[in-house]
């Protein structure tokens, strides 16, 4: 047998194994509180057309019970933190004696904000995440201390901002002034970091649906963030998740809030264009 046919043999084995033990994404629909319809699979955005046809929420890759928890706010442990953030939304803080509500009105007025973040902010001359926008308000409009990028106050507030946009399609802009940041994020997505030399794409583009040890790999979409994880029983910020995934390649990770992770979040966000905002989600 020559190298080529041996390689082919290995491929055939791979195909047989894969079809024998395929862990398919669930065939299920998500409607929250019997009311908010969530698009958990849809046609891939045009910029992904040469690598995949369909984009899917991580929700489809979780077990029946975990999926069920997200369909009712009374069962979703992440909603407690949304309630806490609602109190903070209405509470004055900082030297200006202002609350978020003083400028923005009810939190529900913020519907439609989450789906377009990260985005290029003209006044700042850079791409900003929701966290950066929140801290800009705190520092410059309220005269309050910045929150830690992935700290409790911050992640709770991003959960509130996500929750009021649930069901709206993610719509992150990738062109115009955001384009160079988007390109940078794309490059990071395909870079094989660390001693294991694995890229985001190795796991979440080439192998979603497959088991990597006990984990059922999803597409690594971020429409569900922040995510309440049963594993650590708290809300997890999106860039904390990135940090964990990069660390698991035996790499030196980037810091949450770093330019690299902001660019990566813009890029990964855009891979989910068309999926519904569903944060705070429930995951393993």
């Amino acid at each position: 047998m020559n190298k080529f046919t041996k390689g082919l043999g290995a491929c055939m084995t791979a195909i047989i194994v894969a079809s024998g033990a395929m862990a398919e994404p669930a065939d299920d629909n998500l409607v929250i509180n019997g009311d908010i319809e969530i698009v958990t699979r849809t046609a891939a955005p045009a910029h992904l057309s040469d690598v995949m046809d369909e984009v899917m929420s991580g929700w489809l890759f979780r077990g029946t019970e975990t999926r069920a928890m997200e369909s009712d706010d009374f069962d979703n442990p992440g909603m407690i933190f949304v309630e806490q953030a609602e109190d903070v939304w209405n509470t004055a803080d900082g030297s200006e004696g202002k609350s978020c509500a003083d400028c923005h009105g009810a939190s529900s007025e913020m519907a439609g904000v989450r789906p377009v973040y990260p985005k290029y902010v003209e006044a700042a001359g850079e791409v900003r995440t929701m966290e950066m926008a929140i801290n800009d308000c705190r520092e410059n409009r309220m005269g309050a201390e910045k929150w830690k990028y992935t700290g409790g106050d911050m992640v709770n507030m991003t959960a509130l901002m996500a929750s009021v946009s649930r069901g709206m399609p993610v719509n992150v802009a990738i062109d115009g002034p955001a384009q160079s940041t988007w390109e940078q994020g794309k490059e990071i997505y395909y870079t094989r970091f660390g001693q294991l030399e694995l890229s985001c794409a190795n796991c979440h583009e080439d192998n979603y649906g497959n088991m990597i040890r006990a984990d059922h790999l999803s597409q690594g979409q971020i429409n569900g963030f922040p995510a309440y994880r049963l594993k650590n029983t708290k809300l997890n910020a999106v860039q904390d998740r990135f940090k964990g995934c990069v660390r698991d390649t035996r790499a030196e990770t980037f810091a949450p809030g770093s330019p690299e992770f902001v660019a990566l979040e813009l890029y990964v966000g855009s891979r989910g264009n068309g999926l519904s905002v569903e944060g705070p989600s429930v995951r393993n």
Binding site: M1, K3, K6, G7, G9, A10, C11, T13, A14, V17, A18, A21, A23, T191, R192, F193, G194, Q195, L196, E197, L198, N202, D206, N207, N210, M211, I212, R213, A214, K243, V246, R247, D248, T249, R250, A251, E252, T253
Partner: protein, 157 residues
């Protein structure tokens, strides 16, 4: 002496004690992805190899591969082909090449290179997320690679 003990502790799960007689990771010769010469000159021990294949702290090959001969290991992955029959499909030299640096046999493969210690992008200090320091060694020692190869050779159809 102190220094080498420290290094050993710091690299638990990594290649621990490299032997002077071992072929260094950068000195391995690949021919069509295969490595003819033993990395250590000492025959591999298949029982030790099985441990490396199954252990999360060592090779963790089962993260990606199923091995029916190791039924006690739960949650075997399905990223790569099942290793059943690998010893019939491949020669020992092929297996050594695949384990040491699979990218030489399968261009662009997702499989990590287990006997390599340079050329990484942002290598970390194991799974801490911090930058690697000068204790960075290959994922497996030369002898562990030999042990794994000896184990894989027992996986016949």
């Amino acid at each position: 002496m102190k220094i080498s003990i420290l290094a050993l502790v710091a690299s638990v799960g990594l290649a621990a004690n490299a032997n002077a007689a071992d072929i260094a990771p950068t000195a391995v010769t690949y021919v069509d992805g295969a490595v003819e010469a033993s990395l250590t000159g000492t025959a591999g021990n298949p029982e030790e190899g099985a441990k490396v294949v199954g252990s999360k702290q060592l090779g963790n090959c089962v993260a990606c591969h199923e091995v029916s001969a190791l039924p006690d290991i739960a949650f075997q992955g399905m990223i790569g082909p099942a290793l059943d029959g690998a010893g019939s499909r491949w020669s020992e030299a092929d297996l050594r090449g695949i384990v040491a640096n699979a990218k030489m046999m399968f261009e662009g493969t997702m499989m990590p290179s287990f006997y390599k210690d340079t050329g990484y992008i942002r290598p970390g200090k194991a799974y801490t997320g911090k930058a690697a320091d000068d204790t960075l060694g290959p994922l497996l020692t030369a002898q562990q690679v030999e042990d794994v190869v000896a184990y894989l050779a027992t996986l016949k159809d």
